[in-house]
């Protein structure tokens, strides 16, 4: 009986995937591209080659962390849609640290840089957290507005005081010194940020499920009034959940800069903050689900870059594909826990 349901579920999932790919293929075809070649290129370059697979994992690194940026507040009943802004502010403060550390060895410098990034993101989470805790502004709307402020602040520094003199054409900071760069695994591009993401996913699970604080935070998300009467400091948890979430996105931002770009510029995110929010939502805030969904979204994003080169399809097509997938998932009654059920099957 249960086996039958599983089979039916898998079949429906397969049907959905086929449906999405079909719609997207139609869309590409309407734009005068070859959809079959596009799918073949994506699979061949990103999944069947080690280099491509490392690339997908490099893209997973920021998604793991920006998904956590939504997950921590979500457990406290908050909607943090500000991962994008927190990502940028983390990159900003981390860059400030990286460009100003005196000659220290790498094993001290890198943690300092990462910490500065986390502080930057945390700060950008603290503002909406405070506004919400005081009952002044809803955190959904304030985080959305703060998303538009953060890149402007970065723009000011990148175009102004921090602009590298040697490359006058591109507005960007000077390169990070070697000691401030995140080390990569062997000769691959896979950097420490990916493992930091996994580490924090574990820490998140441990914090939420195995500590008293996690219980308090979840109780705030479940029933704030009851928690208040039981003596849980509700507004403190509201602020803290937003700060923790912001710190995760900030960490993602500085890791991306210090491991991939080596310098701060405006083009550091193809929407990682928003994607992370959707990853977390698809995964139902479940850590294993976050890993799985990050992989799927990272594969789509990598595929987008592949197609940009091989078929000259604009990167914007990735957003369309992402949206189509979400629409199909949302259309499932009782949706949103796709990855959760996948994770359960994984364990079984």
């Amino acid at each position: 009986m249960d086996k039958n349901r599983l089979a039916a579920g898998s079949f429906r999932l397969l049907l959905h995937v086929v449906l999405i790919v079909g719609v997207f293929a139609l869309f590409l075809w309407a734009n005068g591209k070859d959809p079959i070649q596009a799918v073949r290129d994506t699979v061949r370059i990103n999944l069947l080659q080690w280099r491509g697979l490392w690339g997908v994992m490099v893209r997973m690194a920021p998604l793991l962390l920006t998904a956590l940026a939504a997950a921590f507040p979500f457990r406290a009943g908050l909607i943090n849609v500000g991962g994008e802004g927190q990502f940028f502010l983390g990159a900003l403060l981390g860059t400030w640290a990286a460009l100003n550390v005196p000659g220290l060895p790498q094993w001290i410098t890198v943690p300092i840089v990462l910490l500065a990034g986390a502080v930057g993101g945390g700060l950008w989470g603290w503002i909406p957290g405070l506004l919400r805790a005081r009952g002044w502004v809803n955190e959904t709307i304030s985080t959305l507005l703060l998303n538009y402020l953060a890149p402007l602040i970065v723009g000011y520094f990148v175009f102004g005081p921090w602009r590298a003199p040697e490359l006058a054409i591109y507005p960007q900071t000077p390169e990070f010194p070697d000691v401030a760069r995140l080390p990569a695994l062997g000769t691959t591009r896979l950097h420490v940020g990916f493992f930091i993401g996994l580490l924090f996913l574990f820490a998140y699970w441990f914090f939420i499920h195995k500590t008293r604080w996690g219980l308090e935070m979840r109780s705030v998300g479940g029933n704030p009034e009851a928690s208040r009467r039981l003596g849980v400091p509700v507004s403190r948890w509201v602020v803290l959940a937003m700060v923790l979430g912001g710190a995760m996105a900030g960490l993602a931002g500085i890791a991306e800069v210090a491991a991939v770009h080596y310098r701060l510029k405006l083009a550091i995110s193809p929407g990682y903050g928003f994607m992370g929010f959707l990853v977390n939502w698809l995964a139902g805030s479940n850590p294993v689900g976050i890993v799985l969904m990050s992989f799927v979204v990272a594969l789509i994003a990598s595929g987008g870059f592949t197609l940009q080169i091989t078929q000259r399809i604009p990167y914007a097509a990735v957003n369309v594909l992402l949206a189509l997938i979400l629409f199909v998932v949302l259309a499932k009654p009782a949706s949103g826990i796709l990855a959760k059920s996948l994770a359960r099957r994984w364990k079984a």
């Binding site: 402007l152 992402l322 949206a323």
Partner: protein, 303 residues
Amino acid sequence: MNGDWFLSWISGAILYAAPLLYPTVGEVLGQRTGMVNLGLEGLMLLGASTSFALSVRLGNPWVAVFLGAGVGLLANLIYAFLVVKRNASQLATGLALMFFGLGVSALLGKPYVGQMAAALPKYPLLGPRSLLFRYDLLVYVAFLLAALAWVFLFRTRWGLQLRAVGENPAHAYAAGISPARVRLAAACVVGFLAGLGGAQLALGVTQTWSEGMTAGRGFIAIALVIFSRWNPLRAIVGAILFGGAVVLQLQLQARGIGISPFFLDMFPYVLTLFVLLLWGRGVRHTAPASLGRVYFGTEERGG
């Protein structure tokens, strides 16, 4: 001299208010039925890019504007289907719609970046010789629409039914109103007006197309809905305030004041946040009670 500056500021504020007023009024109606739509930004972009492309192709801005608004309506049917029929999460559906609009509009608009489109004709308010207060018809219509929306919401039977659905869908259902039908109709209006706002922005205000040109206006519209406390007339005040912020920033930049343009660009967003902060307290009591909640229907579904 100073008076001139002030007049041109007011004149510009009204111009920049209009493309914001359309999605804001639409979202007021939508939220009055209990639906939050975070996809307004995507809908505006769709309206802007399709109307701009069509205006270049057809040479007729009016046809282009209405087809652009129609595309907004069609795109929002996805939202309506998912939220009303499939009880999907409103926030996630809205964000997915934002990604959809962002992607599709960028693909559609790509060949038209840097092109000239047939713009909407302007009609001067103060006689033919004045350069100030010259607006296209849609600017005038925007303010009229806000007033009409107020009358509809608070002075007609249909408006009462609409608000009843937003306050308590189960009670509305008991009173013989179909919450699903009311929300579907409202979603059509939201899509049409958001698309119209985007179209007016592209063909009446900026008269160019660039990727992501709405620059967060869809999200600011949602903030203005809260600011206006779900009242279309107060939405006019909010829209003019934001329009004034945009114009002030543009004027300061044109005068070459020694402030970085990046800081000036922040002004409208900071102002929106600040205004929400000042007005935010007590908002919870005016918000439609069922806002954002999934309505599963009153009848027992077969299980």
